[in-house]
Structure formats: structure tokens, C-alpha cells
């Protein structure tokens, strides 16, 4: 029995080790995750309060309050957007340190705002209070778009990636290649099929969950549908770039994980990246899911209109095009 087991064990090990692509990704994925998470969660001690400062770059201002510990100071160049965050308890206080006298906005119903206001007045008694009112955004409301987006991401990337891979491995793609079907037609059909499925499921989840948690979108549902449509297209096209060429299941699995995990951590599914280093935010902006969630939250929580989310929609449209062109260019019908 041991001999047989050893023979199979040895053969499987050889198979795994000789599949270089898979081996590299097996090592690279956890390494990337550890390094990435250490940057996102590591570094400075965790802050208790979040304070926005009305400035482009924090380095350009000095104010005694900015030296306080356990306060996360973030640059807030857009005053209206920042005040909206204070109203929704997403920011505990907003400071305009350059005014004479300095002004600050605080939500009169926020307990954290109450404490952080005391800290500010300890360091600067001249600061003028600008009261703001508004109910807190429940975490579940904030999380809701994130969960929908995450589900969409997995459905698009793995749904397309593994299906095309299986078709190629079994020779079904080769058989289709023998027909007048072009690569563009095949890929378009896959994209449209997955798009319908993903949008259908997302709509069902949206209706079901929003009823359970009593959520009502502040903005247009049609805009939300547009974000879902473009987001799903971009993510499906991204999945196709991975599935276009490779035939090794473990390699494709590794590549899909390399794409999904950074999005899971950095696209803002679970927590906001506000306050994290600029370069982390810059990396997050590369991912289509970040734009989906930013736009969806802007519409669902803040009632944003088309012009406010147009940059995100534009980014999703452009990435869709880039991924589709690359996918079609690198597409292989058969196992090389």
C-alpha cells in the first residue's frame, strides 16, 4: 500500500513542481498578501478619531491640534463632500485651520465628535464652531455595496476564467474553432452571458437585502444599474484576459487569486482606505472594483448624480475596452 501511495505522491509532486507558473504563483500569492496587508494595516498606531483638514496636502499646514495623538488627520480638499461626511458620522470633525479665526464643523449628535471637539478647543480656543446635523450611516448600509461588489467580482472573474479554461482543456474550444465562429463572437457571447447572470443575481440580491436591512438608495436606481453594468463588464473582461491563453488550472486559479485578493483588501469592500498612505490609495484606484464601489456608495449613500460619478464610469469603460482588446489578442482556441 505504501509503495502505491508513494508512487502517486511522487508523480503528483513532479507534476506540481514542473508546472512552473503554478509554483511561482503559489509562492507569490501569500507573499504579496503578507506584504500588502503589512502596509495597509501596519505602520502607525491605530487612530481613535478621524479629522478632515480643509487642505490639498497636510504637509502644507501647521496647527497645534494636528500634533494630537490617536487622531487620524486626513486632507479634505472638497469642503462640501467633507461636511457631508461629518453629517453622516464618517468623519468626526472637519477643520479649516487657515481661516481667521480657524473654523471647524462637528456633528452635534456624534459622541466621537463631542470628544474630538474638546481636544481641538484645548489646543485652539479661538476656533469657531459650525454645527452640522445628520444621522450616522449605518455600517451595514456602507457595507452593502461592498458585499454586492465582491459578489460581482467573484462571479465575473471566476465564472468566466474557469469556464473558458475548461472549454479549452476539454477540446470544446478547438471544436468551436473548426466552425465559422470567430474569437470575437465567442468572447462576446461569454461576456454577455456572464453579464446577464451577474446583473440578474445582483438585482435580486439588491432587492432582497435592501428590504431586509430597510435600505433606500439616496440616488437614482438607473445610475446604480449603469454602474453595475459597466463594473461587471470591466471585471468580466479582466477575467477573460486571464482565461484567454492559459491551460493549467492551478495557474489560472493563482492568477485569479492574485487579482481578487488585492481587490478584496484595497477596493474598500470592508473598510474605507481614507487615511491610508497616498500610494496605497493610488494602487487601489487601479482596480475596477474600487471605482464600482466608490460610484455605488456615492449614489446609494450621498445621492450623487451622473456628473459626480462620471470619472468612475469612464474608467470602467476604458478598462473594459483595454481588457477586451488584450483578451482577444492573446486568445488561444487550443492547448499549446
Amino acid at each position: 500500500m505504501m509503495k502505491r501511495m508513494l508512487a502517486v505522491w511522487h508523480a503528483r509532486n513532479l507534476e506540481f513542481v514542473r508546472d512552473r507558473g503554478t509554483l511561482i504563483f503559489t509562492i507569490l500569492l501569500p507573499l504579496t498578501l503578507i506584504v500588502g496587508m503589512s502596509f495597509v494595516f501596519g505602520g502607525k498606531e491605530r487612530a481613535l478619531f478621524k479629522v478632515g483638514v480643509l487642505v490639498q496636502d497636510l504637509k502644507t499646514v501647521s496647527h497645534p491640534f494636528l500634533k494630537e495623538r490617536y487622531v487620524d488627520f486626513v486632507a479634505a480638499p472638497d469642503r462640501d463632500a467633507a461636511i457631508r461626511k461629518v453629517a453622516r458620522h464618517e468623519m468626526d470633525l472637519l477643520l479649516d485651520s487657515q481661516g481667521t479665526p480657524p473654523r471647524y464643523w462637528v456633528n452635534t449628535t456624534s459622541p466621537k465628535g463631542y470628544i474630538v471637539e474638546k481636544l481641538l478647543l484645548e489646543s485652539d480656543r479661538t476656533a469657531q464652531r459650525q454645527p452640522v446635523t445628520g444621522d450616522a450611516v449605518r455600517y451595514v448600509d456602507w457595507l452593502f455595496p461592498g458585499i454586492l461588489g465582491m459578489n460581482m467580482m467573484f462571479s465575473c472573474l471566476f465564472g468566466v476564467g474557469y469556464v473558458v479554461l475548461r472549454y479549452r482543456k476539454t477540446g470544446f474550444l478547438k471544436r468551436l474553432h473548426a466552425t465559422p465562429l470567430s474569437a470575437f463572437e465567442f468572447l462576446s457571447a461569454q461576456v454577455l452571458s456572464r453579464l446577464c447572470l451577474t446583473l440578474g443575481i445582483t438585482i435580486i440580491l439588491y432587492v432582497g437585502v435592501s428590504n431586509i436591512i430597510h435600505f433606500h438608495s439616496a440616488g437614482s436606481l438607473l445610475l446604480l444599474f449603469g454602474i453595475g453594468l459597466l463594473g461587471a463588464l470591466s471585471l468580466i473582461a479582466l477575467g477573460l484576459t486571464v482565461a484567454a491563453r492559459f491551460s493549467a488550472e492551478e495557474l489560472v486559479g493563482g492568477l485569479l487569486n492574485v487579482l481578487t485578493w488585492p481587490m478584496m483588501l484595497l477596493s474598500g469592500i470592508w473598510f474605507s482606505l481614507e487615511g491610508s498612505p497616498q500610494w496605497v490609495q493610488a494602487i487601489a484606484k487601479i482596480f475596477p472594483l474600487t471605482h464600482v464601489l466608490d460610484a455605488a456608495r456615492a449614489v446609494m449613500l450621498d445621492g450623487a448624480g451622473f456628473t459626480q460619478i462620471a470619472p468612475s464610469l469612464g474608467y470602467l469603460a476604458v478598462t473594459t475596452l483595454i481588457f477586451l482588446v488584450f483578451g482577444a489578442w492573446s486568445f488561444r482556441w487550443r492547448v499549446d
Partner: protein
């Protein structure tokens, strides 16, 4: 002279260190069943896949009705690969409808189901078919566009004898519709039964070509005698006979049966297990290459 429906000119396919197809040329007339015969690795599948437009040749060309083969040829070709998996969770009828939808013209799905005797199985999941049923479905898919040229790449490999015979009957009924068929096989019986013309390939080259009967007539005398190898004493090898060793048998070809038998009896060769039969394509391959076809 009529233009052949398909013509292969100086085809070469080179992979790194291997020349899979090495300067192959032949022409196929319309309505003919043309067989590419040879052992595994002879270059049959590579040749047929280049003809189908699935593989690009390193050199040479394939012409359809006198012109270069383009993407339009896919509308005119029906293909049955050696191995093909179909989409999961579809029935026979749904699989046929899928492929029918990929062509501008073709047969009705009902017609092709009838032609390939799939009526009773049409609602069955394609994953639940036997080997023979699966091949019948793949043949039906190859026929769904009512092709002018049908490529069958080792269509009966792995089938049991009964399923193989059923498949041959199907191919014969398709032949009767004046379809041009390109068939690769290493079953000589299959080639003899179905092919009007054959090309025998070995190591990427065609080593003989023609109608099976003509080829046999060219290369062989009238009859072939078979004896178990151990029954041939060493002295018998000195006789002026044409001997070929084929595994555990010795084959003797002759056009003077009486004279050969007399020689064997004079050499005291036991004739109890002697078999006399006309030569077949298997013998031809052995004669041409010195090795057995399925070796």
C-alpha cells in the same frame, strides 16, 4: 480535366525538432472517400488538421475547388476530431442546435438526428452517452452544416466491434449522398470498406497512394501464405521464396501457389497451420515499411 475538390501541395509541418509532415501532396476528387492511413505518429492528424484550417502549415498549401482555403471553407467543412468534449448539461438536440446556429446554411436538426439514428436519444444529456452514441452525435455535429467535405479523424478508435460496424454503416449512407470524405484511420478493414482512394503515410511522408485494389495489385502477387514462425525450419529460409516476418508469423507472397506449396513440402515444413488468403492493406504497409501498422 476536372478540378479536385481538395488539393494538398508540398505540405510541411515542423515542430521544434520534429518534422510531423514532410512534403505531402495529393488531390481528392469530389464525392470520393479518401483515406489517410498510417501508424500513430505518421502525421495523419497533423495533415488533416492543416486541411481543416485548424493548424497552419510551415510550408505548402491546401486548395479548395482550385482556390486557396480561407475562412469560408469552414462553412463547407464538417469535422469530427479524434477527441472532442461537448458543453455540459446539454442534450443531444440542444448540442446540435448550438452547432447548427454557428453556420449560415445546413440541415434541419431533425433531419440530422434522423440521418445519424439519434431519434431515441435526442433528449439525453450528452454526458450520459456510450462511446458509440457519442461518436454518432459527433458525426451528426459534423454533418449539421450539410458539408461538401467531411473530415473524420480516426472516428472509430476505441469503439467496440459492434459500434464500429454501426458507424461504418452510417458513413456508407453519407457516402451515398455524394459527400467527399477525408478519413484517417489505422484500421485497415475500415479503409478497405469505406475508402475509394488511400494514401499511406509513414514518418510524415506518403509512401503509397491509389485505389486500395490497385495498390494491392501493384505490390502483391495473387495470394499470401501465412505460417507460424516456429514451424519454419532454418533450411526453409534458404528457399527462393519472398518471406516477410510479421510478429510471430511468416508471410510468403506468391503468384505460383502450387509451386510454393511443393517447395514447402519438399523442405518438410508442417502445413497443418498454413493459412492462404488474399493480401490486404495491412500486408501492404508491412511490405512497404517492414513494420506492422499498429506497432
Amino acid at each position: 480535366m476536372r478540378i479536385p475538390i481538395l488539393e494538398v501541395r508540398n505540405l510541411v509541418k515542423q515542430y521544434a525538432a520534429v518534422t510531423a509532415v514532410d512534403g505531402v501532396s495529393f488531390a481528392v476528387s469530389e464525392g470520393v472517400c479518401f483515406g489517410l492511413l498510417g501508424p500513430n505518429g505518421a502525421g495523419k492528424t497533423t495533415t488533416i488538421e492543416i486541411m481543416e484550417g485548424i493548424l497552419a502549415p510551415t510550408a505548402g498549401e491546401v486548395r479548395y475547388r482550385g482556390g486557396p482555403v480561407g475562412r469560408n471553407f469552414r462553412e463547407a467543412a464538417g469535422i469530427l476530431f479524434q477527441k472532442t468534449a461537448l458543453q455540459d448539461f446539454l442534450t443531444i438536440r440542444q448540442s446540435l442546435a448550438l452547432f447548427r446556429g454557428l453556420y449560415a446554411r445546413g440541415m434541419e436538426v431533425d433531419e440530422v438526428i434522423r440521418l445519424c439514428a439519434l431519434e431515441k436519444l435526442q433528449d439525453r444529456d450528452t454526458r450520459k452517452l456510450s462511446g458509440g452514441q457519442q461518436q454518432r452525435l459527433l458525426l451528426a455535429i459534423a454533418l449539421v452544416n450539410d458539408p461538401a467535405v467531411l473530415f473524420l479523424d480516426e472516428p472509430t478508435t476505441g469503439l467496440d466491434p459492434q459500434a464500429r460496424r454501426n458507424f461504418w454503416e452510417l458513413v456508407q449512407s453519407i457516402k451515398a449522398r455524394r459527400k467527399t470524405i477525408i478519413l484517417t484511420t489505422h484500421y485497415m478493414e475500415e479503409a478497405e470498406l469505406l475508402c475509394d482512394e488511400i494514401a499511406i503515410m509513414d514518418r510524415g511522408k506518403i509512401i503509397a497512394q491509389g485505389a486500395p485494389r490497385d495498390l494491392l495489385r501493384q505490390h502483391f502477387a495473387e495470394v499470401l501464405l501465412e505460417l507460424p514462425r516456429q514451424q519454419l525450419p532454418p533450411a526453409a529460409r534458404e528457399l527462393s521464396l519472398r518471406l516477410i516476418e510479421a510478429g510471430d508469423r511468416i508471410e510468403i507472397t506468391t503468384n505460383d501457389l502450387d509451386g510454393t506449396l511443393r517447395q514447402l513440402m519438399d523442405a518438410q515444413v508442417p502445413l497443418k497451420e498454413l493459412r492462404i488468403r488474399p493480401p490486404n492493406l495491412e500486408d501492404l504497409f508491412l511490405e512497404l515499411t517492414g513494420k506492422e501498422l499498429r506497432a
